[in-house]
Amino acid sequence: MIKLSLKNWLLPTVLFLGWMVGGCSQKQRHTPVRVAVTLQQMKFMPSEIIVHVGDTVVFTNKGIVIHDVTEDPGKAWTSGPIPIGGSFKLVIQEDVHYYCSIHPVMKGKITVLRE
């Protein structure tokens, strides 16, 4: 009788624990997503975004002139000229301040969400 009861409870308990562990680890593992930033009206829109490590920010030039995306202030990296209608992808690993080196009044910021 006792043997039967343990057998009956064992499988559901293992499955429940497995679901719990799997669920928790899934919560910690973020699936990278794409985040869009447009360059228009001589602005980065939105100019400030919050993302996770590994997310890809896609900058698309919807303006009327050529722009670029350049690390601020050290120019550690740059997209180079982005033609009208063109885009530039950046995989985010850390907080980033950036600007358009062609039009230095255009500035933006990417903050990494730390959980």
């Binding site: 009206q41 001589m42 602005k43 303006g63 009327i64 002139v65 062609i102 039009h103 230095p104 009044v105």
Partner: protein
Amino acid sequence: MKKKLEMNFKGTTLLAVSLLLFVSVGHTQKTPKLSDAEVAHVAVVANQIDIDYAAIAKDKSKNADILKFAQTMANDHSAIIKQAAALAEKLGVTPKDNAVSKQLLDGSRKKQKELRTMSKKAFDKAYIDNEVAYHQAVIGAVEGLLIPETENTELKDLLKNVLPALKAHLAHAEMVQKTYASK
């Protein structure tokens, strides 16, 4: 009004002041009536003038900030002219010469002569001062004259889209100008 404008823009170019006066007249009774073809011509001329100023800067300056700014002006205003020309073609509009564009050209010729004959030492500051004044004047003209005068929606939208670029150019020019404030 005229006196006030001249005081506010003391030291700026004749062209800038004349453009502003055009706009100020527009706000009173004698609004210069422009057809869409004339608006398109003024827009092309205004952009071409700044490309011409940039060409002088490339000839005369050795300052990296001035040269970079001039290159941006040449590239951006060329791109705007290209889009204006494409739109004019699409709409079947042939840009038409008019009093405003003539006045712009007359003023710019005088300013270009002044900049070309200036010593290289004095040039950089004079160029960037003129860029600040010119963009202030053109922004005033686009907002106060060209957009209100335009009937075609697509041409009006193009002019509205150009405004942020002109304002960013002005802010950029003012940034460069500040570096000369203490000199």
